[in-house]
Each structure stands twice: as C-alpha cells, then as structure tokens.
Subunit: 346 residues, 2 copies
C-alpha cells in the first residue's frame, strides 16, 4: 500500500492542529462545522483512514469481537457443521451492525486454549460456538471466568456457570418432535445420537422425547438409542444396526435423529433396505439445514432461530463489555413439518 497519510498530514493541509483533525473526524461537537467539513474533504481526498492500532491503543479497546469455533467429532477438515454456518452468518452481520470487527478462529478442543487469551488482547470479547465434549469444555469455561474475560457461549444454560449462555431449548425441541410423531400414530421410537454428559444438547433432545412419551402415556415408547456422531455416514450405519435389531418396520415406527445429517443417512439406509419413508418408518431430524428440505422426502425437523441467536449473542456480549448485566437465554425452537413423518396434509 502507499505510505499512508496521518492525521498530521491532514492537519498541515487544513491549516489546523492535529487535535482538531482527530476531533473533526470522530464527529466531536467541539469543532466548527465548516472546519469539520474542510477536514473531512481533505481526509477523503488523501484517502486517509484512522490507524486502528493507534486508536485502539489510545482508547484501550479494540472494537473487535472474536468468534471461537470448535467442533471436535467431525474428522473431515473441509466440512463445517451447517448449523454453524448460519450462526456464523448472523453473528457476522450483527457484529458489523454494531460497528465491530469480527475475528474468527477455529479451535480444536484439544488445542492449547491459550490462543484465547492471546486473542483477548485483540478483541473486547469472545463468542464461543461449538459442540465438543462438554466435560472438557467446562474446564476452559472456568478459566475464562476466572480471568474475567468478557465472553458468551452458545449452549444450554448451566447452573454451574450462570449468565454466560444463550441457547436453544433442546428439551422442548425433542418434545415437539415426539408429540408430532405420536399425533401421527407412531408409537415405537428409536433415537440416534449421543446422550452422555459430554453432549448435553443432544441429551436434552432425547430427554425431551422421553418426557413427551411419558406425558402421552407411552412409557415404553423408546425402544433403543444408538450413539453416533453427526454425520450422514454415522446416521446410515446406526440405522442399519437398528433395522437389523428390530427387523425393520415390524417393530419400529420412527427413527428420531439428533441432527439432519444423520436423518439423511437414516433415510438412505431405510431405502437401501427396500423400505419407504414415511410409509414404513418415519424419520425426523434436527437443525433444518438446507439439505433437509432438498431430501426426498423432505425431512421434518426442528429449526433453531439462528438469526436471532446471532444477534442476541452479539448484543449481549456488547452489554457485558459495557459492564451491564446479562442473563442466560433459552430460545424456543420451531417444528418444521415436511413429509418424512407422513403427516396427512402433504
């Protein structure tokens, strides 16, 4: 780049002091409107831009937010959980709207978490986004809290770490799914997805299913649960094992998948077995990724409001940065009905 103009160059050209230039450019009321106009004109002509490093150093803040993404289980480098993508989009937009920059970093849960602190000199606050083993992850949370870092995470509120979480009500989501399935006459479920303490959001979806089943008097409705990571391949494999175990549609009405990716795999496995979705077995997903709509049949799923989530994450983090109080938020998910459960209407 060309050697940059500084505020002194502008001052010289405008015949005023450098202080006045700084004031004019930051729209301080302490400057004559005509002087301001002249200075702004010159600055534009010289293509002057305030040096952020100098400005930040002086102001002691960076006007930058850092987004830390991590996702352990997926081994494939090139694929990012599609749900993250839409979060990424909304966070980027909300950040920009607030006049902040966004620094992005992909972390491995196994990485030395120090990068976070490094970043913290470059960012006023952190957004943590990712599913990994929550047990490992929780430990890092404690560190961040101890450091008094400004940060917020996407995930279910955790009473051990209050007021740092914004998440979606996965329990409710699971419950919605089960009730929908039951309303269509399905009674015998299997669940694909991890339900241990390391994956609390998936466990919540499972628990939500169970609650609904109980509520509807179908205490024995959950026939099986298979651990699986959120990939099409694992969805396929798990479904094959389920089909083997239960002799296909004779004993199983519906497969509840903890993610759409798994549901896509489940449908393929069912088709490969010569069975049909939803006629023989119903399938549900979670996340409402684009592919769930393109699938044949379209997959009934649960939509988390990522637009709102991104905005809340950013605006609340900004509150934190300005030392305002912030509360945990649990957002309500929405059922997206398509054909994979065989509802009457379409």
């Amino acid at each position: 780049m060309k050697s940059k103009a500084t505020s002194f160059d502008i001052a010289y050209a405008a015949g005023v002091s450098q202080s006045t230039v700084s004031r004019a450019l930051s729209d301080s009321p302490l400057v004559n409107p005509e002087t301001r106009a002249k200075i702004k004109q010159i600055a534009a002509d010289l293509n002057y831009k305030v040096d952020k490093n100098a400005s930040n150093l002086r102001k002691q803040k960076s006007k930058t937010l850092a987004l830390l993404l991590f996702e352990d289980p997926t081994p494939d480098d090139s694929s990012i959980n599609p749900f993250f993508i839409s979060m990424l989009g909304s966070i980027t937009k909300a950040t920009a709207k607030a006049g902040y920059d966004l620094l992005i970093s992909f972390q491995n849960l196994s990485d030395d978490w120090h990068a976070v602190y490094e970043d913290s000199n470059k960012a006023d606050g952190l957004i943590l986004l990712g599913y990994g083993n929550y047990t490992d992850y929780e430990h890092k949370l404690a560190q961040l809290e101890e450091q008094e870092t400004h940060f917020l995470r996407w995930g279910a509120p955790d009473k051990n770490h209050p007021n740092i979480s914004i998440g979606s009500n996965n329990h409710e989501g699971g419950s919605m799914i089960a009730k929908h399935l039951i309303s269509l006459g399905h009674k015998r479920f299997a669940f694909i997805g991890e339900i241990n303490a390391g994956a609390p959001e998936l466990k919540a979806r499972y628990d939500g299913c169970l609650s609904a089943l109980h509520e509807m008097g179908l205490e024995e409705g959950m026939l099986a649960q298979v651990d699986a990571i959120s990939t099409e391949a694992d969805g396929y494999k798990s479904t094959v094992s389920l089909l083997d175990k239960f002799d296909g549609d004779k004993q199983l009405d519906a497969i509840v998948c903890a993610s759409d990716l798994m549901a896509i795999g489940a449908i393929r496995a069912i088709n490969d077995r010569g069975l049909k979705v939803p006629q023989d077995i119903a399938v549900v997903g979670y996340d409402n990724i684009p592919a769930s709509g393109f699938s044949t049949p379209g997959i009934t799923t649960v939509q988390q409001n990522t637009m709102l989530a991104g905005q809340l994450l950013v605006t609340n983090l900004l509150k934190l940065i300005h030392n305002e109080e912030v509360k945990d938020i649990l957002m309500q998910p929405e059922l997206v009905v398509r054909r994979s459960c065989g509802n009457a209407s379409n």
Copy 2:
C-alpha cells in the same frame, strides 16, 4: 477482564529493564537464556500477553488478514454458498498456521466499498471471495490496485488485472463434464446457469461444455441454455421449463447444471415429472457440496480443491505483503463420478 499486566510489571518483578522483557518474550537472541527463562516464567504467572495494538502500532503491521465475502444473487440471509464454507475453513486454517489472525466481513457488492479501506488499517492484506456481477466488481478491483492494497481474489485470472487471481479452471471442468456425458452415450444437452460477462466462471463452464461437444463432433449438442441463480428453487424451475420445451426425455439426454444446488432442484423436477435420473435424463452438478453426495441418486459433479485453494490464497497473499512477486494460478478441477449420469460401474 482484570487490569492487564504490562511489560513494565514483568520488568519490575524480574528486576530487569522493560526492553529486556520485550526481547525475551519475542525470543530475541540478544538475551541471556536464564534471564529469558525467568522472564517467561513471570509472564506466564502474571498471565501477561503482549498488547497487539501497541505491538502492531510500533511494528507498523497487523499480522492480520481480512477476508471479504460477498455474494449478491442469493436473497436468503441465512444461507451461504456451501462452496464458500469450505473455502472459509481452509483459509482460516492456513491463516492460523501462518501465525496471522483472520478478520471476516460479509460485503454486499452494492455496499459502499469503503469498508475495505477501513479494514486495510487493521489488516496487512485482503482476500476477496465471492461471485457477484463481475462487471461491477471489476471496478472495485481497479480501485484496490490503484491504492496499492495487498490483495488477492478467488476467481479466474483476468488479463486486465494480472497477478491478483487464484482460481479453478472452469473451462476444463465444463469440458470434463461434457466428455464424461458423451462417453456414456449422451448427446443432447441443456445447460442451466448464467453465461453472461457478469458471471465469467459459469460462462467458462458452459464454454468448456461447448468445446468438448465440438471436439467430439457434436456441434449441435447444446440444445438450450437457461439463466438461473444458484439455488435449488431456480434449478427446479429451470428444469421444469426445459422439460416442457423439449417434451422430457424424448429430446433431451442430459441437464448440465452450473452448481450442485441447481442439480438437486433439477433432479426433483425430473422426479416430479415421473421421469428417472439417470435412466431418462442425466444430471450433472458442480462444486461437490456435501448434499450432492447425499442426493438420490448421487450427483456427478466437479470438485474444486478448496483446501489447496485456501492455502494458496493465504501463502501468496503473504508473499505479496512481503513484496514478493506472485503469479496468477489456475487450478485443475477433478471430476467426481456418481450415479446421476448412469455410468456403468455403479
């Protein structure tokens, strides 16, 4: 965050000068190993991190790269072109590996492009990634060149703007597709996608198809071309119009889509018409997005090496920043054969 320790605090604790602290922490050879060890220990204890703003200001560089994403045609806020996602992943990784931070910004092509220059004070260089109307876009390129900004773009090399592009050989990709189709006995093609100057990469795919057709003596093989944006919905709509126009499979062998998203829509339209892919009509996509593999049938497509592309973009931008020469790069794409064209093997 707690009030941060500075290098003076470390110096005081270590009984040395602040200069020595700075040197020790930056691994300068000009410092006694024992002194260094002591200083590093104290720094770690105090959780000291170098202030990037001060450091950058002094060094006059930011150790940060900015990624400008823009994508005009897709109106849906939440969806980002899946191809971008994998580029995003690889760029993030390559940036981190080089010890740089990544600033992300979603731009609208219509936005005031000034944001770019603003950013340029925070970043040592820019990566431009997006498909929009190239005619508009080219204008901004000229501005950046004139500013002597360090930047690189993803896209086909353009002789009017040399040595700023890294792209994939779309002409070759289109040609590979056509040859594959021809080798399977298909002779009558239709193409879905824009082919104007505003979308040079899509036009190149189209031209590649034509070249291959000519080469194989099928000069009249391209029956039609329909403008469409890269969505499932537009792929569907365009296919419906094609099917109407050509009376389905009687006159049409294959639909070549400029993206996988369109191909997914095309397959749905064909199925809705009671026809089968690939038995009645073959379909090809482009990009090899995850959904193209999950589709039934799997979609034959062209894969661009996004991992390598991201790395090249970053390493070459770094060269540019260090005032080294850089050349345009045209990467070779790869044909991914699945079942949507009806190849014999599976």
